[in-house]
């Protein structure tokens, strides 16, 4: 009868994933925003740069920026959604209750990661389809790699969101972690200023920020038809950062509280 709680149980992880997706299913507006907003925003960028001539011999600005935004959107959206969702678990008492059940902390966190990773996959497929058909986004490599990188970025967003929620006491605080976590990564990822042109110390900071690698991976897929080693290394770095953030988030989940 008494079964000791395993560190990780695929069954309980899946139960958590199913539960989070069911919560999402009841929230139609959130689903609509998750699926459509990136495409609409990308459309705005498309219109913004449509009539700006590209420098000779270089890809258009939209091809360069639009593609990397496919990695930035899921990262930002999933970070926000997850940090709020986890904060609600903490404040509503459901987290405390979950921790009295056989569910392990890792089951809970991986369950969240899988649920929002799946949501991100749907988002990415829609956005990539819209971008390449309606907005003529030019990608040299496989579109499935773009989707894969978008999903890995989303999981990184989930992991950092889970971690950030531990430091937020209120929803007001939680949403303000978004600019703290996201904007520096966005400024320094090489999109606004090429990394080679940054001051040395800024480049060093950029080197340890995971979004830098996500953006580089997408740029590799954008310009090379064949899969490059750099791209796979970048994907590995982003995935590793996500695992590290999940481990730290697990450490912040305490069964016993005062």
């Amino acid at each position: 009868m008494s079964t000791a709680t395993a560190v990780l149980s695929p069954r309980l992880t899946a139960a958590t994933t199913g539960r989070v997706l069911r919560q999402l299913r009841h929230d139609h507006r959130t689903i609509a925003m998750m699926v459509l907003l990136p495409s609409l925003l990308l459309g705005l960028l498309y219109l913004l740069w449509r009539d700006v001539p590209a420098p000779p011999g270089q890809p258009g600005v939209f091809d360069r920026v639009g593609l990397t935004m496919l990695g930035v959107f899921p990262f930002v959206v999933m970070f926000l959604v997850t940090s709020i969702a986890m904060l609600r678990e903490r404040t509503s008492g459901t987290l405390e209750r979950l921790l009295t059940t056989p569910l392990s902390r890792l089951d809970l966190l991986l369950g969240y990661g899988a649920a929002f990773g799946l949501a991100a996959a749907v988002q990415a497929v829609v956005t990539v389809t819209v971008a390449t058909t309606l907005y003529d986004l030019d990608v040299a490599g496989s579109l499935w790699l773009v989707v894969l990188i978008a999903v890995v970025d989303a999981v990184l967003g989930v992991a950092l969101g889970l971690l950030a929620s531990a430091f937020a006491r209120s929803e007001f605080q939680a949403v303000q972690f978004m600019p703290v976590v996201v904007l520096p990564q966005f400024f320094l990822c090489g999109l606004l200023v090429p990394r080679e042109q940054m001051a040395g110390w800024l480049q060093a900071v950029s080197d340890v920020l995971p979004l830098t690698y996500a953006v580089e991976a997408l740029q590799e897929v954008g310009r090379s038809a064949a899969e490059t080693g750099t791209m796979w290394t970048d994907v590995g770095v982003v995935a590793g950062a996500a695992v590290l953030a999940l481990a730290l988030a697990a450490a912040t989940l305490r069964r016993r509280t005062s």
């Binding site: 309980l12 199913g18 539960r19 919560q23 405390e96 209750r97 009295t100 056989p102 016993r256 005062s258």
Partner: protein, 267 residues
Amino acid sequence: MTDAVTVTDLVVDRGRRRVLPGLSCTVPAGRVTGLLGPSGSGKTTLMRALVGVQQVRSGTVTVLGEPAGSPGLRSRVGYVTQAPSVYPDLTVRENARHFAALYGRGARAADDALEAVGLTGAAGQLVADLSGGQRGRASLACALVGEPELLVLDEPTVGLDPVLRVELWERFHALAAAGTTLVVSSHVMDEAGRCDRLLLLRQGRLLADSTPAQLRADSGTDDLEESFLRLVRAQQEVDASGQGREHRREERARSGASRGSEQVSRA
């Protein structure tokens, strides 16, 4: 009769306040034990210690033969917090099925638990759309679904109409008859009479460990609320005279009188 829970010299601080200053008590197996006392007396803190989510300063809590909060206990102990802790954005049935899955049970167990709390008719509704009482019962169903050996319920009948309250108490006794140990907190003294055993707490101290019948006999009144008040007053007199001795001996009589009148709190 064996004990399902043994608490020994439990000391718990919350913030800078000492909530439990060294509590010892036992909970008999297969019975409904009522945890009664005014708000702030440490009932919730004790319950959190039983289910292993409370940081404790010292002392031991043994539940079903294992230290409270042990991994092995998580499928054997059910906990219902005072505020309903269910997902408002899921239906009642989805909530029950989720917790059923966590305890390794199927959809059938979830449906049974909903029936037990009288929520079968509302199974398809979102918890957010339920009344406060229904929400509380949904939360209870999510603990019943695991068929735990020890069920810890923090004020489960708050906001329920009298008919439902009676039904739930019948359910508690049916569970106890089947071997489940229940710890039920309440600050309503008319519920005390429904318990097999009573633990009366005040300011983190055990004022009485008794049965309703014994309590009535000891205090010489049929009214349990009155019995409790008499116990409180007697305790206050002991406290007051003790303090007077420790501090200013000459002021003993006066301080005793004033403390006594200030601190008579209704249960």
